[in-house]
Subunit: 207 residues, 2 copies
């Protein structure tokens, strides 16, 4: 159900077509809740069926048409309710941590590769999140501007504050994973050094 509210959140800033929504998604809410276009189009239809959005068919060129979706009052209400309602935490599931738990089964160089991948992955994520954070802090994001234009000025600081808080959380998370991967890489170096100092042990391992 989260996809529905991620989409609704975008539509609460301005009306748009499914295509535009798909485009915005990846740069904004998609950094918190990813979704593919094959998911988004059908969901928009369901939201329309449930009265959360209303679609207007607008001509596009000579022959084609596109559907522009606009959030309804019911949709705004549903979004507000969702945001205000505590959601149960999903079961813990982290493949990469599970993998490292049994790292002794891999060779040290394979384990090193896993942690290097982890480091690279979260470095990229950190970059994406902190980039968005910057554009929000300076209110350079077009969609955010539209949102601010549509709300009373007294609310502006709150709107910015919550978005910054969320993104700072993501950046901190990335930093944490980066630090962890480095710690792991250091650990592997130490394990390797310890082995190099004990030729008997190395002989044992080769058996």
């Amino acid at each position: 159900m989260s996809l529905r509210y991620a989409a609704l959140a975008l539509l609460s800033a301005q009306p748009m077509t499914g295509y535009e929504l798909v485009r915005y998604f990846d740069d904004t809410v998609g950094l918190m809740w990813a979704a593919s276009d094959s998911q988004i189009y059908p969901e928009l239809r369901r939201m329309e069926r449930d009265g959360l959005v209303r679609a207007k068919t607008v001509p596009r060129g000579e022959r084609a048409a596109k559907r522009q979706y606009k959030i309804t009052a019911k949709g705004r209400e549903a979004l507000r309710t969702w945001v205000s309602t505590p959601i149960p935490y999903p079961p813990q599931r982290d493949v990469h941590r599970l993998q490292i738990t049994y790292g002794e089964l891999a060779g040290l160089s394979e384990a090193r590769a896993l942690l290097t991948q982890h480091l690279d992955h979260y470095t990229l994520r950190r970059h994406q999140w902190s980039t968005l954070l910057d554009t929000i802090k300076t209110a350079r994001f077009p969609l955010l501007r539209r949102r601010l234009e549509g709300t009373p000025p007294e609310m502006h600081s709150r709107i910015l504050a919550f978005k910054e808080l969320a993104l700072e959380g993501q950046v901190a998370h990335a930093d944490n994973e980066i630090a962890w991967a480095r710690r792991g890489l250091k650990l592997i170096d130490e394990l390797e050094a310890a082995e190099a100092e004990e030729p008997d042990l190395r002989a044992d391992l080769r058996e």
Copy 2:
């Protein structure tokens, strides 16, 4: 597919029945990769079909029977391959961060409730992870003992090192989320204080 390898990892320590596996799960690998019993039993059958485990039917009391699963050589090999292979990162999905992103739509007290829930949740998780970490550091965990008994002594430090690394990652993650939730709660206090100082603003918001 991760469920399969989480189960295989447990079975690589010692043979057990589906029921025992289910019990161990929640206290060990389940803290990294959660799974329900309704998932585990069918998966064990599929693993048997694929030759990763072999089941032996052992009598239980007079009339009943139970199936004890033992990892095969093929199973050990599959597990080692899985641990050594980098796994693509799943799409980012964090409902709670998404929710806070639009926190301005909720009231401040509702937003506070969300962050309090976050704090409580990760406090519990932190406790679970650090408890397991302690029992591992002191090698008090029975299953881990069995695992160590079944491996050459030179490998023992590695086995412990990787498990500690993984759990320390989880603990650090929990600490990070706890700190974030506290920062959020402080932010809400500040927003509230700022409003209290501006009676005009409060009047505006009441309209």
